[in-house]
């Protein structure tokens, strides 16, 4: 009789079983559904929370960064400027936060049943995407309001890049997240370190200030952060202001592809033995 499955101590470096992942696609959609239904169960305001968070954050930023610190907003209305950044950054940080604890927060279920572990971070990135799209509608409402009022914001052809920008954000957060989660199964020090870094990372990304306020040399350093070009491209496509360059965007894309490949390989290796070290 032919055996269909072999269980061995070690697998090859690039031995990722995509066929198996495809087989579990229904699990992926079930996890997405679970995340969406359960996140606001037994709350009074329910899905309204999707809006409350960005609204209050925007107001805070308007008061602190624009009102007190007098940081310019590239000539854009403040709510629009901050909402654009917040919507993108919250997606990135939410994905990163949840994917980076994949192994630790799922150790109970991972210890009982086998399925391709990558399904969990993949579904988290997707369910966060739905949340982000809901928040994006808030941005669009404010955007339409300013268009009607007659503020000079000019959407242009670069707006079509939006789906690619989102895929890049998802890929980057997934890549970073699964690498962090693979590294933290054994040494928890890294959890503390990364939690701290993500907090500071926002300030290294043009969310609360426009990239154009910096000298070209500093802009070049800022562009090393792969999120920078994504945020700037989004602002440029929707509102016609910001710093857009194909080189910067290409760099971010390449960064994402390499990061994600490394992440999948590392994650795949760790998932086979993490139960012994977690």
């Amino acid at each position: 009789m032919e055996f269909t499955t072999e269980i061995k101590p070690k697998n090859k470096l690039f031995d990722v079983d995509f066929k198996e992942i495809w087989h579990y696609r229904d699990l992926y959609s079930m996890f997405v559904k679970r995340d969406i239904i359960t996140s606001y169960k037994q709350t009074i305001l329910g899905p309204l929370w999707f809006f409350i968070q960005p609204v209050i954050t925007t107001i805070m930023y308007m008061v602190v960064f624009n009102g007190i610190a007098k940081i310019p907003t590239d000539g854009l209305p403040e709510p629009l400027f901050y909402l654009a950044g917040i919507t993108l950054w919250q997606y990135f940080s939410a994905c990163l936060n949840s994917t980076s604890s994949t192994f630790i927060s799922n150790q109970v279920i991972f210890g009982k049943v086998y399925f391709p572990r990558i399904i969990v971070p993949l579904s988290t990135v997707t369910s966060n995407l739905l949340r982000m799209l809901i928040q994006l509608s808030l941005f669009i409402l404010v955007y339409i309001y300013y268009l009607v009022v007659g503020v000079d914001i000019s959407p242009n052809f670069y707006l079509l890049l939006f789906p690619i920008l989102i895929i890049m954000l998802a890929g980057l957060s997934l890549g970073f997240g699964i690498i962090i989660s693979s590294m933290t199964t054994k040494y928890r020090d890294l959890t503390l370190l990364f939690g701290f870094i993500v907090q500071l990372w926002m300030y290294a990304t043009p969310i609360i200030y426009p990239l154009s306020t910096m000298s070209p040399k500093k802009q070049w350093i800022m562009a090393l952060n792969p999120i920078t070009s994504i945020v700037e491209a989004f602002k440029y496509g929707t509102m016609g202001v910001g710093t857009f360059s194909w080189e910067m965007l290409g760099y971010s894309f390449g960064f994402m592809v390499i990061l994600l490949s490394i992440g999948i390989v590392v994650f795949n290796k760790v998932q086979r033995s993490f139960m012994d070290t977690v």
């Binding site: 009789m1 055996f3 269909t4 061995k8 101590p9 229904d26 679970r34 210890g111 139960m275």
Partner: protein, 427 residues
Amino acid sequence: MSVAIKFENISKQYRLGLVSTNTISHDLNRWWQTTIRGKEDPYLKIGDINDRATKAESDYIWALKDINLEVQQGDVLGIIGKNGSGKSTLLKILSKITSPTTGTISHTGRIAALLEVGTGFHPEMTGRENIYLNGAILGMTKAEITRKLDEIVDFSGIERYIDTPAKRYSSGMYVRLGFAIAAHLDPEIMIVDEVLAVGDAEFQKKAIGKMQDVSKGEGRTVLFVSHNMTAVKNLCKTGVLLKNGTVDFAGNINDVVDYYLTDKTIRGLFNNEWKKENAPGTDKIKVIKAYVSHDTPFITVNTPFEIITEFWIEEEGFPVNVSMVLWDKDLNCVFNISTIQKPLSKGLHKATFHIPAHIMNDGYYIVQNYFVTESTPHFIHNNANSFEIVEDRESSGWHGKWIGAVRPTFLKTELTALSIDLDLKNT
């Protein structure tokens, strides 16, 4: 008959103790030796066998060592062994939760592991939503679950609650639903671990029936892990006894169970014997033996046995009675009986407590002996010896633990009709 699962040299090494700075130095050393210098893993060669009772001499331990096993298709294999013998590790490797340190397992078809049913249930989701979620976790597609949904709900017997959030369920309902989902996976290989310990008689009957259907009717392979020897004997054809991470005995299930029950050392039971120099006791009394005596290879609820303690009296005419207190494994006192007090001559004496058949319940028992003189305890001998009484019951479809401190089956019971309902008879 063909082989459904083949284990070849399966070993699993664990590191003892906590993850510490030592771990990182071992990791670096391992990386240096294997990746850079291309040598063998320096920590793979060492490692104690897995015996909890002895002090570890190495930081590494073999939870499993060189397991070689072939399971025939359609077989129901019982895996037995005391806690820590490697049963769970073996199942975890087979169900791909962790990978083996060395060796290969080859198998055909889908494996469903009922290591703990209801895994991944979300308390906020309804029973129906949880069927889909849990089914998907176990590897079913959505279409497959939809097709079997009615059957699953019916099997679980909780139809009324199917649209209620799972957090309102009792633990029994959780298990019923979880088992119902797993039982409808239609796996080629099914792993069942102690699910029979929970649930009521009716549900146990259903669960066992399903297991038997799966193996008999459909020619699927079942691996069953349990401490319940009655259930194992009734359900399995062949058995494997694990001891300290190795296969101690394999073969026909009755032989394996008998071997296991006869070997006291496997189960941590002890009869005691001391040399006179270091015997427990006082200057007047020295205990040299404490044991149980029985004619059968092991004690069941249906066999009589004797609890015996042998001791030296060092002072001529010392008045003593022996009072034996029997404790169960939870340290509840089962009963206390005593010999009559009389002056004993200098020399060796023996106190025997005859326990008839059909009175004790199955379980693990510990003996404590009081040597009493003039109504005051002269010497208390704690943990003198221990023994186990094994279940021996006709199969009634129910394999749960019989409750009660004792089980006096010699007591007369009666069930009589008082009147016959004529209407009912006519319909």
